[in-house]
């Protein structure tokens, strides 16, 4: 890890609710180079809020604090919202879970891609179109000119997610946060989309934060894994060493994965001990 892209130290996200303050993220720390980092946890573990806090997309009523939250040496918490916005979609991008909901339903795919581009770069219309089409090609859409003019509901989930990736990669970001990018897709196209994502990340030398609840997917796809539980990091480990994980929660997650050829009865139940969250 020679050039650190992102540094997160003691990140906290606090939501005010009717019954008091709730900390969704409680002191998360990690750093990231031009590598693929997986964040794994159950729903409600704070993994998505961690990603959104890095993007600067935390809901306005919530509070974000950290000892350090720096992207490429830029302190994200001290810069103005305008500067933050100019990073967003330009140098840091994000892919959301379900293209059915995360693409604007009344705007054609092409226009949505061009919109990202023209927000951050001064390019003429013809060039923007050219680059959007090239980007659609890069996510292995065979007939980019046709897909360009389609509305999101007119394409399948797999193609929608490719369009989403194209929309977010068109500006050539250095860091990509993928929040459950394949969970909403059919199992058959999940792998295709992942391969495309993997290839683009590798080719362009980007850093990737891959947020997922699927430990197996993350371990096969990422270099390193951060395991989160109740807003905290319980373990950080290299994906290749995952089998030797120490923490009982990680072990529990591993045990829940079915393996071919082994009879699993009774099905293991995930242990959740309050002291891990303490």
């Amino acid at each position: 890890m020679n050039d650190t892209l992102l540094e997160v130290d003691d990140l906290r996200v606090t939501f005010p609710t009717r019954t008091g303050l709730v900390q969704a993220v409680r002191g998360v720390s990690f750093s990231l180079g031009r590598e693929r980092l997986g964040i794994v946890g159950e729903s409600g573990s704070g993994k998505s809020q961690t990603g959104r806090a890095i993007m600067g997309l935390t809901p306005p009523q919530a509070e974000v604090s950290a000892k350090k939250l720096a992207f490429d040496g830029i302190d994200l918490l001290s810069i103005s919202p305008r500067q933050r916005r100019s990073l967003r979609g330009n140098r840091i991008a994000m892919i959301l879970q379900d293209p059915k909901y995360s693409l604007d339903p009344v705007m054609t795919i092409g226009r949505q891609i061009i919109e990202t581009l023209r927000t951050h770069e001064k390019v003429c219309k013809a060039e923007a179109r050219e680059r959007a089409l090239a980007m659609l090609q890069a996510v292995q859409i065979r007939d980019p000119a046709r897909v360009f003019d389609l509305y999101p509901h007119e394409v399948s989930g797999g193609m929608g997610q490719r369009a989403m990736i194209a929309m977010m990669l068109v500006t050539g970001p250095e860091l990509m946060i993928a929040d459950e990018p394949t969970s909403a897709l059919d199992v058959t196209v999940q792998l295709d989309v992942l391969k495309i994502l993997d290839k683009l990340v590798a080719e362009r030398g980007m850093g990737l934060i891959f947020i997922s609840h699927d430990l197996r997917l993350v371990s096969s796809f990422c270099d390193r894994v951060v395991v989160m539980y109740a807003g905290k990091v319980v373990e950080q480990i290299k994906a290749s060493e995952l089998r030797d994980a120490q923490h009982p929660y990680t072990r529990g997650l591993l045990n829940c994965m079915p393996r071919i050829g082994f009879e699993r009865h009774p099905l293991p139940v995930l242990d959740r001990k309050p002291e891990w969250a303490a």
């Binding site: 997309l57 967003r88 909901y101 604007d104 927000t119 394409v155 193609m159």
Partner: protein, 355 residues
């Protein structure tokens, strides 16, 4: 992309055409039954409720010969169902009988007065939409803020105030005390004789003919009633806009739009409102239909010579043909707008499927 995907995408274009055709077919069925329903209800009001429909139409001072002739003309000696058939046939020809008060065919009276109502309701809806939509958007974006509270109170009062009363107070303040506006009428008497309308919309006619003094006078007459109707429409439109916008702002594509680094302005007006715009079309159309109806009271207060005033004048003179003709006229436009807005909604939304 797989072959199957390609075919599916190609097939969707024709699916959409089928969807539009099928909704067009249903639209026609609904339009016809609703219009027949309207005629049935007015038939019931005009022929069944009154003890003697002839007296209801002619008044009790008509000579016996006329009464007898009218009785035959109305087909009152025929069975109900045949009477209704004749009634529908006449209504489809635009024959609503003759007005006792004006002695003209009701239809020609309606043609004469309707443009005044349209002009008023159109201006009212424009005012309501131009202020109501941004107010609703701001209220949704700054939910719980001062502007949200103000929008809420303004809306609630709009839902609660008797419009004719507000009109009277407006006349006291802006006409009697401040003298900002002209007295209740459509034009000053001076212009009534010199000005020849073309379309029947005086503001437009004056502008076309370049008679700016007439335009100014017409404006001074229309501004207060239009503002009042605009307020009613604003109350409704802003409330619905807020609700639609809150719904849209909670969607994932808004998060995605922010993740793209778009400005809040662009996210709100370019994405959220664009999506809310589809249902908003329906709301604005409905609000327009409501104003046509609301004009009955407003026109009475402002002596505005439209269909509303025509109906109330006829009511006071027990001129049943005119009342029912006016009711059918407003009802028909009302129904047409209702149905068209539904159709428009389906056409505007690119997601329209069979349904």
């Amino acid at each position: 992309m797989s072959v199957a995907e390609n075919q599916a995408a190609a097939g969707r274009g024709s699916t959409r055409t089928v969807a539009i055709l099928s909704s067009l077919g249903r639209f026609l069925v609904v339009a016809v039954t609703t219009y027949l329903g309207l005629l049935a209800v007015t038939f019931f009001i005009g022929r069944v409720i009154p003890i003697d429909p002839v007296l209801a139409v002619l008044g009790d001072r008509a000579p016996t010969a006329v009464v007898e002739r009218t009785r035959r003309e109305m087909g009152l000696d025929l069975p109900w169902i045949e009477q209704f058939y004749l009634y529908v046939k006449a209504a489809l020809r635009g024959d609503f009988g003759t007005s006792v008060l004006t002695t003209n065919p009701v239809m020609s009276d309606i043609r004469r007065v309707f443009p005044a109502t349209i002009e008023l309701a159109t201006l009212g809806t424009i005012i309501g939409a131009v202020i109501g939509v941004p107010l609703g958007v701001l209220a949704a974006v700054k939910r719980g803020s001062l502007i949200d509270q103000i929008a809420r109170v303004v809306g609630l009062i709009g839902y609660s105030v008797p419009i004719f009363w507000l009109g009277l107070l407006g006349l006291v303040l802006f006409y009697a005390k401040l003298q900002w506006i002209a007295f209740p009428a459509r034009l000053d008497v001076v212009y009534e004789y010199t000005f020849t309308p073309i379309t029947g919309f005086y503001l437009l006619d004056a502008a076309i003919q370049g008679q700016w003094d007439v335009f100014h006078d017409a404006w001074r007459h229309i501004v207060l009633p239009a503002a009042l109707l605009g307020y009613l429409s604003l109350a409704y439109i802003s409330r619905m806009t807020r609700s639609f916008m809150l719904n849209e702002l909670a969607q994932e594509y808004i998060v995605a739009a922010r993740a793209k680094g778009l400005s809040e302005t662009r996210v709100i007006w370019g994405h959220a409102l664009r999506n809310a715009a589809v249902p908003m079309v329906t709301v604005i159309a409905l609000s327009y239909a409501n104003l046509l109806e609301g004009s009955v009271l407003t026109e009475t207060v402002f002596s505005w010579p439209g269909i509303g005033l025509y109906i109330t004048n006829s009511l006071q003179n027990a001129d049943m043909n005119a009342v029912l003709g006016g009711t059918i006229a407003i009802g028909s436009v009302f129904i047409a707008i209702n149905l068209l807005s539904d159709l428009l909604y389906r056409l505007l939304d690119p997601r329209t499927k069979i349904g």
